[in-house]
Symmetry: none
Subunit: 131 residues, 4 copies
DNA sequence: GTGGTCTAGACCACG
DNA sequence: GTGGTCTAGACCACC
């Protein structure tokens, strides 16, 4: 299974879903031409409203990451891999940017920001972050 | 002065205000016993509705960062400095945590995460981040 | 139902609402996991602005009495019952305390204070106080 | 000295002052024809804005409890004693009434309300309540 | 449908 | 002058 939803996260659920699909494609866990789970199935698995999954899939189609396979469901597009790697980079950059802006505004000195960052990296071993 | 609001930020304005007050206290730009700008004045300065500022100030009272001086306005509490430094640490930690979780999930290798981070730090010189 | 608002009471409406929710939970009229009326519905029922109800509900979330069920509404938290019973006790104690302080300061002898109290208790039969 | 102000009480300061003057008259600590302290002096003693004391004195004049003695200050009126005893009774009744209403609404059983009351009475020995 | 944010403007209490 | 409450109504995001 390739993702995990945190309902008390502030980030909208539909966006968590669509991002994680992109990330899965970016890192090769989901390959072009492969089918994604049906709306119903995924909704049940994540204990989430089907509308929410549908919305995520809709967004992913708009981004040319998924495309319908007539009557069969949705599959990852051919160009998805490249696109998702680009998106991953820019999504992360963007989050990082806003974090650094805030950290700077807060007046925390650079060395302490760096310490926080290294702490965090070492606290999250790679293994547990890919359930 | 110590406020900078970004209306197209996703983060609610009232929360940007209350955070920045906390940060200002945390870094010593605003000291215990000092008065904060009046609701009306700050509202005008930020081109924002007075109710929005009032809400931020109300939240800060609930967090024991501000207290009323009857008929005079609001002042920073005695214990605010300590509290705000703690809050700053935990607010930033929290944002960093969710970033690292996402970066890891995205499958981006650690060295590239680090590169992103260093890029961002060097791209935002200290001077321009405290307007 | 469990609300009765007195607009000419001095006590702000939003606070009357949040208190009564707590009391309803404390006495078991509203149980953990149960949904509270929607903001709009309650506002209409009490002939009050929706913002006012929203504020009460916001305060209750801050007190961990309510929690959002995304897109569904607000429900009473699991720990609410215990918390509300404690709050009820302390809210009433506090009011009683300030009353007794004032009664004593006024120089009214203890036996007359007691008489006032008993009068009041017998004048408000239980039936009419839970409309 | 016959009263004591609690600034963090919710009750407006000017009202605390005027009530306590009435109570002092009611219990005979302040007698008809006696002078009350000047606005300035009392304001300084209570560490309060002179306007606040002035407002209290204004209200007391409107209630015929104080009257000006040309150029000398304010004195307690002849009819004040009777009037203040009446007011004391009705002020306390009123507070008690709203307390009982709330206690009943809260669903706390009568015997527990009574227990709270007795606790409070025994916890505040007469001596310390008249500083 | 739900709650959340924001604006605009009125009114009040306090000092 | 200060903050606080309330109303009215618009707009948005989420489910």
């Amino acid at each position: 299974m390739f993702f995990y939803i945190d309902a008390s996260n502030g980030v909208p659920i539909f966006e968590q879903i669509s991002r994680q699909v992109k990330y899965a494609v970016a890192r090769g866990a989901l390959r072009p031409q492969e089918m994604v789970p049906s709306v119903r199935e995924l909704a049940q698995r994540l204990a989430v409203n089907p509308n929410t999954v549908a919305r995520a899939y809709r967004d992913l189609q708009a981004d040319d990451v998924l495309e319908p396979l007539r009557g069969e469901g949705l599959q990852v597009t051919r160009k998805a891999a490249e696109r998702c790697r680009r998106d991953r980079q820019s999504l992360l950059r963007q989050r990082l940017h806003s974090f650094v802006v805030e950290a700077r505004q807060s007046g925390l000195p650079d060395d302490e920001i760096l310490t926080l960052f290294q702490d965090e990296l070492s606290r999250q071993p790679l293994a547990e972050s890919l359930p």
